[in-house]
């Protein structure tokens, strides 16, 4: 099992590009990639976890909704995500555990303000025996 996520350039914003063996792992990689844009994940302890469930009409909208949960956890509750475990994923529904801890300004330097997860050039698709994904964030 392998998953990988990296950022790429977009003029005013930043993109996430990921590949993984399964849809669940792809969603994990992208969600963790977003968490890393907000704050260095290696400094966020998985002290607490919260379960999120999303439903959407297709797999791309599903990815936007799941990643938005990571953003909302911070924006509404100051909860930084360090690790994401997608416990189930189909093309239209996913459940995930977001493990992390409340933002502590002494330990967690925030990197960038993320306004939203966009639909622009959004791609979540099977490729070969795995999955690839591309999401652009509005900063």
């Amino acid at each position: 099992m392998a998953k990988h996520c990296e950022t790429f350039d977009h003029t005013a914003d930043v993109g996430l590009r990921a590949e993984a063996d399964s849809l669940a792992e792809l969603l994990e990689a992208l969600a963790e990639g977003l968490a890393d844009v907000l704050c260095d994940r290696s400094r966020v302890a998985p002290a607490r976890s919260r379960t999120v469930a999303v439903r959407a009409e297709d797999v791309e909208a599903l990815a936007v909704d799941l990643l938005s949960e990571v953003l909302l956890a911070f924006e509404m509750d100051r909860f930084l995500v360090g690790r994401v475990t997608v416990t189930s994923a189909t093309a239209t529904a996913a459940e995930a555990e977001l493990a992390g801890e409340p933002h502590d300004p002494a330990r967690h330097e925030l990197r960038t303000e993320v306004k939203a997860v966009t639909y622009h050039q959004l791609q979540i698709a099977p490729r070969g025996r795995g999955w690839i994904g591309r999401v652009i964030l509005d900063l």
Binding site: T7, F8, D9, H10, T11, A12, D13, V14, G15, L38, A56, E57, E60, A61, D65, S68, L72, F74, E75, M76, R78, H103, E109, L110, R111, T112, E113, K115, A116, V117, T118, Y119, H120, Q121, L122, I136, D138, L139
Partner: protein
Amino acid sequence: MAKGFEGTVEQVDGNRWRIPRASWPAMRVDGLIYSSEALISEVLSGGAPAQVANVATLPGIVGASLAMPDIHWGYGFCIGGVAATDVDSGGVVSPGGVGYDINCGVRLLRTDLDAADVRRRIEPLISQLFDDMPVGVGVGGPFTFDRKEMRRLLGEGVGYLVSRGLADAADREATESGGCLNGADPRAVSDQACRRGASQCGSLGAGNHFIEVQEVADVYDAAVAEAFGLAAGAVTVMIHSGSRGLGHQVCGDYLKVLRSAPGEYGFDLPDRQLVCAPVESPPGRQYLSAMRAAANFAWCNRQLLANQVRASLSRFFGLSAESLGLRQVYDVAHNIAKIERHEVSGRPRRLCVHRKGATRAFAPGHRELPDRYRKTGQPVLIPGDMGTASYVLVGTETAMRETFGSACHGAGRVLSRKAAIRSAQGRRIDKELASRGIVARARGRTGLAEEQPDAYKDIEAVVACVAAAGLARKVARMRPLGVIKG
């Protein structure tokens, strides 16, 4: 990732480039890019012209899909994009044509302070502002509004702050639309959006948002500058911020609501980020009601930021805001959709004008302008990069005829944030700015690198193009003295 534009682009004149409607069957109108010989090759090498063509496919679009000279690649619409749809002929509203930061905009304050004097004290002044102002990622403001207060703020905009003694009539008059869009419905704003924004009204945020202390370096039109309260050698303060988390969430909520709309209304869209619904449809009306509430929030945000700037300057100089001559020149939105009346093919039409990284630039005599600017035309505030200059222009009849009364909103990015950080490696941007006499303070480690002057187009070339195309006239040029960022 952006490829150069492969469609047809025809040069119309020195400041206009057309993407003909005939070049792609899905286009309903031409694309028209305002640019110059100096700027166009960089524009055509990126992804923005394809976005201008995509926007030309929106149902009900009239005139042309327009892009201002600060055009750059966005998501859905390009930044610098202007599109008007005919409300009474099925025209659509698209949240992507406004963007996530609803009513991101600029406010300019003028003072009687002498720039030469302030330059000598700019370092401690910027430190004071940096200490006093809530800036940075996720940093909230000193104001909190409970549910009931938030409903009034969203519904009434700056008028609500006037009732609380947090704004006065002069502030309100010097704000686009009087700081309140009619038809805002707080009930259309989700609880999540309200929670994201509850503690953020009166905070700057991060990214490209800033507060800049400037010197009026050049005056091009003395009479108009005087009417705007601007004099050469005086100090101004520019504030750039938007609707914070509340607006971001409103946009996200309605993109979700509208995900199914293209299928429902039979629209075939080239980019999901362009989802839209007829203005006169339940989801279209609902989005506009929520967007207007978020716009009102943004005007209140900039009002509360301006109040804190006034208090900070008063503390620093030991003088009241009144004694400092600290007054608002104007406040403009640059991410917004508004219902306006414009002539199309000689007939007055009710249009939904999307401005995505574009500024309203109404001509003299327009009935929507406040009395004090009715004769001059609307002040058009154009922030440049933090190392060069910002401009005040004034709206023209040409803009009314060609661009639904719109002009550019800034310099426009050329480097991505990552590329800007790469190019800043091994450099101290704050020191480079200091060598130009500009004091810069930022909360985040990468903020100054991302926003360094090289990350932007040349503001002089952008404004020269706007002026040469006749979309707005130059009134004054301001040089930065110091800036604070998130």
